[in-house]
């Protein structure tokens, strides 16, 4: 117990320049905002000063899912230098797993009223459920599959790629090809995942209506809690010697290998961890947004995630989360005002950040703070 308190104190009062230093304050802030928004939605009447609309709750929940996805990319890119342009694949696979469960919950309330088959299967005049849909009536099983299938995919892909020592831009292109291939196959009707339209028209989860405020608040709060847990766990991993080896692999893989580390194994397991986080983001995303379709697999989505992380600040955990929240808030706002300009604005932002803030916004503020907090420490080389 004493070690736990010591550990907590150590985490909270860390120097701001250390990577991931702001995790604890952020978790506290996240907890506060979640509580405030939930109470505001459930206990205050519309028109009250403290009222938070259900639309806002859903929007916040969606942002937090994106933050989780950005965290997944940051773990591999920021800490290990693996630029994955295919993390949307893991996100969408997780989403499909959850979507299949929600599909099974519709039962006979679909448009065709078929108690056994989802609407799109009736439409394609299939007469029985494909074998891989079995078991998805059970939420626990569905979530297990939604996390383990992307994890397995990441393991196989990572094992093949890292063992063959594929790195850099070649790896990025391969990840992009992976998500593109998945997108094309999920677009096909005979895959049995709803083809072009994907899975939608969800009714309820564990018997609770997805339209009710309470369910929405609960989903949002769950997302916030899981984001907090994964932030803390990720920070612990990155502070362990495993995390130090990961940084070492990023900065000089050859050196790490000649010190006796089998770097490909480290990379594979980090990649799997990252894929599970991305899949979890997808699992939480689908019930809140109400639809999952092959569009989620597009390489552009993956690239957007990379931009969030770059803007927020790589290799800082919090930076990625803040980047995802900020950019998506800006997206919601800007696309409402001037939809055509959004992609240009995003591109410009990416270019500007890359040119002027290589460490992202988080790194920039950390530098500023370090500069103003300790003006007495001046590099003797500069004053000479």
């Amino acid at each position: 117990m004493t070690t736990l308190t010591a550990l907590l104190q150590h985490q909270i009062f860390k120097r701001s320049s250390e990577p991931g230093a702001a995790v604890m304050p952020f978790v506290v802030l996240l907890f506060g905002v979640t509580l405030f928004a939930s109470v505001g939605n459930l206990w205050f009447a519309e028109g009250s000063l403290f009222y938070v609309s259900t639309y806002t709750i859903t929007l916040l929940g969606k942002y937090l899912c994106y933050a989780l996805l950005a965290l997944a990319v940051d773990v591999v890119w920021g800490y290990c230098g693996i630029l994955s342009l295919g993390h949307a694949a893991f996100f969408a696979l997780g989403g499909y797993g959850m979507g299949m469960y929600l599909m099974r919950q519709i039962g006979d309330r679909g448009v065709y009223g078929n108690p056994l088959l989802p609407d799109f299967m009736v439409f394609l005049s299939w007469d029985k459920l494909p074998w891989y849909w079995t078991g998805f009536d059970n939420l626990a099983f569905a979530v297990l599959m939604a996390l383990s299938v992307p994890a397995l995919l990441a393991f196989v892909f990572g094992w093949l790629a890292f063992r063959s020592r594929v790195t850099g831009v070649y790896l990025s292109i391969m990840t992009q090809a992976l998500t593109y291939a998945l997108m094309l196959s999920f677009f096909r009707n005979e895959m049995g995942f709803g083809g072009n339209n994907g899975l939608t028209d969800f009714k309820d989860i564990l018997g609770f209506s997805l339209q009710s405020d309470t369910t929405r608040v609960f989903l949002f709060a769950t997302t916030a809690a899981l984001l907090a847990i994964i932030l803390v766990v990720s920070q612990a991993i990155m502070n362990s010697r495993f995390g130090k080896v990961i940084l070492a692999v990023r900065d000089s893989e050859g050196r790490a290998r000649f010190l006796g580390y089998r770097t490909e194994r480290y990379k594979v397991w980090l990649f799997v961890y990252s894929a599970i986080i991305a899949a979890l983001a997808g699992v939480l995303y689908v019930p809140q947004v109400g639809i999952i379709n092959p569009g989620e697999f597009t390489p552009i989505n993956s690239i957007e995630v990379v931009i969030w992380v770059a803007i927020g600040g790589r290799g800082t955990l919090i930076g990625a989360v803040l980047g995802a929240l900020l950019v998506n808030y800006a997206k919601t706002r800007l696309t409402a005002i001037f939809p055509e300009a959004w992609l240009f604005a995003l591109g410009a932002l990416f270019v500007l950040v890359t040119l002027f803030l290589p460490k992202g916004l988080f790194g920039f503020f950390a530098d500023m703070r370090a500069r103003f907090a300790r003006p007495s420490v001046v590099n003797p080389e500069e004053t000479r």
């Binding site: 010697r241 130090k244 010190l259 089998r262």
Partner: protein, 289 residues
């Protein structure tokens, strides 16, 4: 009947199956030779980088490898450390370990440490962490995830810091070190990993005279406890540290001996200075004597 006897033999309870026994990590140097390189050849796209090379390194010695660019020095290091597979030949570490059977990580674990030509340290991490990562520990993924730094390990790191003279820079980022300090840190990383054989590629490239002197003292102090193989271009430096010098030329050993012998060796002078000069050089050497 034979089958039953064989089966009994296989399942004898007082024995452990050979494949379940831990592989011996101890290096057998009963013949006082730690590295045997025999009939080694490797070619890249028809270019023979190493050509039937034979080289023996004695346990505990300080050996210098010299040779012009393309003589095969770095390729040789690549083969010893498992980065490159040779076309033919053998490399044995002591009498029991065939290095060609192992990958880089396993060879490092056996106790062969390598310093790169360009100083390569983990720039974003502190000097202390650089050494912590180099310690001889279980380097599997799970043990590393739950690894804690023990008191004896801390003491070991401090000892290494003292040896390489970086105690003051303990908590600095390795990236902020000077070029020479990075070279020392990299040597320190090999020490922290308890490497028995140190392969040191160009340790004094880009160093000031003072730093070069310090490096020479450091390498000399390491010989004996470790076996040190140094690849270097700087002849002054080689002269100051070497007991035995091996000259490589076009992927094979051209000459071997003390620095003085090497400098008088006709073949070496020919290769380095051209034939005509070789004659006049030996002539002047003769006059001087």
């Amino acid at each position: 009947m034979e089958l039953i006897d064989n089966t009994r033999e296989v399942f004898r309870r007082d024995r452990v199956w050979a494949f379940m026994l831990p592989k011996p990590v101890k290096v057998d140097v009963a013949k006082e030779i730690i590295l045997y390189i025999e009939d080694l050849s490797v070619s890249f796209d028809g270019f023979k980088a190493i050509n039937n090379l034979n080289l023996y390194i004695r346990d505990g010695e300080l050996r210098c490898l010299i040779g012009a660019n393309g003589a095969g020095k770095t390729t040789l290091m690549d083969i010893i450390t498992g980065k490159t597979q040779p076309d033919s030949g053998s490399v044995w570490f002591g009498q029991t370990h065939n290095l060609l059977e192992h990958d880089e990580a396993a060879i490092a674990h056996l106790g062969v440490g390598r310093k790169f030509q360009k100083p390569t340290v983990f720039e974003a991490q502190s000097v202390f962490t650089n050494l912590e990562l180099s310690l001889k520990t279980n380097k599997g993924v799970l043990p590393t995830l739950f690894a804690r730094l023990g008191a004896s390990q801390r003491a070991r790191i401090d000892e290494v810091l003292l040896t390489i003279g970086l105690t003051e820079q303990r908590d600095q980022d390795a990236g902020s070190l000077s070029h020479g300090q990075k070279q020392w840190l990299e040597i320190g990383m090999l020490l922290a990993s308890d490497s028995r054989l140190l392969l040191v590629d160009e340790p004094v490239a880009g160093m000031t005279a003072e730093e070069t002197e310090k490096t020479a003292a450091l390498l000399i102090s390491l010989a004996g406890k470790h076996t040190v193989v140094v690849v270097e271009h700087d002849m002054e430096f080689v002269r100051s540290i070497a007991r035995t010098v091996t000259v490589l030329h076009q992927g094979a050993v051209l000459a071997e001996g003390t620095m003085d012998e090497i400098q008088r060796n006709k073949a070496v002078i020919e290769v380095y200075l051209g034939e005509e000069q070789a004659d006049s050089e030996t002539a002047t050497a003769g006059v001087a004597q």
